[in-house]
Symmetry: C2
Subunit: 491 residues, 2 copies
Amino acid sequence: MAKELTTRAENYSQWYNDLVVKADLAEQSAVRGCMVIKPYGYAIWEKIQRSLDDKFKETGHVNAYFPLLIPKSFFSREADHVKGFAKECAIVTHYRLKTNEAGNAVEVDPEAKLEEELIIRPTSETIIWNTYKNWIQSYRDLPVKCNQWANVLRWEMRTRPFLRTAEFLWQEGHTAHETREEAEAEAQTMLKVYADVAEKIMAVPVICGVKSANERFAGAIDTFTIEALMQDGKALQSGTSHFLGQNFAKAFDVQYATRDGKLDYPWATSWGVSTRLMGALIMTHSDDNGLVLPPRLAPLQVVIVPVYKSKEELAAIAAKVNEIVDKLKAKGVSVKFDDSDNKKPGWKFAEYELKGVPVRLAVGPRDLAKNEVELHRRDTMEKQQVSMDGIDEKIVALLDDIQENIFQKAKKYRDEHITKVDTYDEFKRVLDEKGGFVLAHWDGTTETEERIKEETKATIRCIPFGNPQEEGKCILTGKPSTQRVLFARSY
Amino acid sequence: MAKELTTRAENYSQWYNDLVVKADLAEQSAVRGCMVIKPYGYAIWEKIQRSLDDKFKETGHVNAYFPLLIPKSFFSREADHVKGFAKECAIVTHYRLKTNEAGNAVEVDPEAKLEEELIIRPTSETIIWNTYKNWIQSYRDLPVKCNQWANVLRWEMRTRPFLRTAEFLWQEGHTAHETREEAEAEAQTMLKVYADVAEKIMAVPVICGVKSANERFAGAIDTFTIEALMQDGKALQSGTSHFLGQNFAKAFDVQYATRDGKLDYPWATSWGVSTRLMGALIMTHSDDNGLVLPPRLAPLQVVIVPVYKSKEELAAIAAKVNEIVDKLKAKGVSVKFDDSDNKKPGWKFAEYELKGVPVRLAVGPRDLAKNEVELHRRDTMEKQQVSMDGIDEKIVALLDDIQENIFQKAKKYRDEHITKVDTYDEFKRVLDEKGGFVLAHWDGTTETEERIKEETKATIRCIPFGNPQEEGKCILTGKPSTQRVLFARSY
């Protein structure tokens, strides 16, 4: 084996950490909680980004860029934002270094202290709504539908690559609308965009729903979410879309002249997904051999490994393989012929399995003689001999098949891990023994939700859209309930 | 007129500031020296980005992402970097806010002080070379050719949108190589990529050359540059590529096993362009009517404005125009039919001229009757009647023609503003009366360069590649010189 992974059964958390490093996705940096996203990991992120960005543009959004730094006072403007928003932020207090007396190092110049401290954005509602004040005067200026791709920073105490890091990359959409209905529809539209990219591009099945009051974004009226299920039975919140009402408009005094000549506050949404999606991608599909990537996101879709003893054998293989490479490229498939001579085929097989390359072809002299290749698919680890005739078309179809198969596999696992329970004992037993989502009745109060969280570490992930209404009793308090809600332990 | 611009003759600097704001490219934010890049400006930047990114990938580079924050001590590791690098940086000293006693605002929590301050990256050589230490062990790990798209921050005292802002967006490439020759070639290759994108995509002619010692990047052995000329006769350094020797490898103790089993330090380059290119783009082509955009970067290439009195007239025009729109879109041309009814055609004409849309078609009932449109090209402001037959092909050809024309116009201006002088008096007179680049003999010393700068505000922009060698005397000291170098006042 090239690089050994801890198995999932042994230690799921260690398996994840190993995989992130050994598959060259990311690594810790010299700065606490900040990761380096390595080229292979970044190439996958770029494909996720491109898919999202295309959909943002299709749905009428434009990109812009707002400042990294936000004046401290802005965080006091929206009352719920003050109370509820995590305050673990990086704070800039000085603006100059100077060379020390010895001339061999730099130190902070105490003279260069800022009058008002600046916060590295943990999210940008405040600075963006302060900007929208200049942009929105009339109903003719609405809607405003901006997105930005940016880095943000939250001083998290316990970090894990992609899942929770101090600095992370994300996109944040911020929109302003004439009517409440339009803003609510926008928040839903963007959640749908997230769900589509998750399911169709990332092959990660998600449950769409609305958050309980307790789990809402600070300053939002409603927070919508897509929730995915990881292989250890824990949920991962993978994207959120917020209906903000008129809260930020009021906090930043953004008013516009309406169609009937009055003044009103626009209605707002914000929505974001981050490099956390990389965590969802890795943990949904991968196995003890390494990454499993959906073909639509794989930086390399097909690798071809020659199996040979002499230079002549390699030359004969290469001649045939180069034809296949050209045909695959012509069909838009990314492919690499790895004829490097410093690694054995077995090492290469393991390495590309670790990296999650969806399809591997191996070609030796005997294959060549039979006009065949050995085809290996990463998702099922199955091998078969196939004819070289029409191999390009077979591979194009196979890539689609793999994309669909890993989605169905993840969906089956997810569906098998949604359990209805009626008692608190059963609730706890399912969480401990089976994991996954648990559908249970809840009395609708924050107190109950918090007590359940304290006692079981499970939270309400969401109230699913189109949730069936049924009478029941809260698993904790026995009080009446009209619907089951979706609980899980989560990242 | 929609929005009046100050003319260039009146006040060039004010014209630029007006144009940036009125054409919706950028605006000041609430944070000193940090701008908001508005959607129209960002759409142009995205096209520049895409052009560059494609070329980076074609030349074998990969993208990655490194942390925003850099430990203070890293800036003391490379001696010249300490001495020479601008120290006006944003410094993070604390990591938590807390709600004040009144509960209505946040304040810095004095308990949450960092042990070592963190600097928002002004450039990333230090943190990247600290990372490369893990990546590079053997000659088989070389070359490393990474780029990152990122925001950086330098606490500039006097800022101007795009040209000099505290926070700006850029890309920074950082490469490591086995040999000096390979690294030097890489630095040249990337300068060529910059020059190509500047000239072929942005239509901005540039002079490629090497910086004098005094203007070199702190820590570099050689700095290569592309220099553009603005319409006020001042130069704009538009991109730089540095050959860093083994300086950063040594500072961060990056060594690798060579082919013959020894240990050596890899050779390095770094190279970057930023949103400053937006300033170059704006100031090279635009005029008193507003922006002039090269078609390859225009977010909107063609706008069609109907000229009508009745709804029936508009309907007849729209029917025909929609055919044209479809044909243009099929040819990959971005086009908008602006049938909004709250603005007069004259207002629209001025607005799209301000925004630099390369081609405008106006269609009224009489044009319709004659199967013609009025075609207006933004670069020359010329109007002509053209037949609707084959209008799509004409426009595709016209867009190429405009791209070429604005490049040639800028190049002519630039070439006419390169003046050879032989005396210091002439040097000063040309700078004051004509502006532009001045080719003059220089004795090669930093002292002379600095005295000239002090007395005339002109600096050596570069020693152009392939510079003719000729004997002469330094314009300031009269000492012997072997070549003229390129001086200018600059941004």
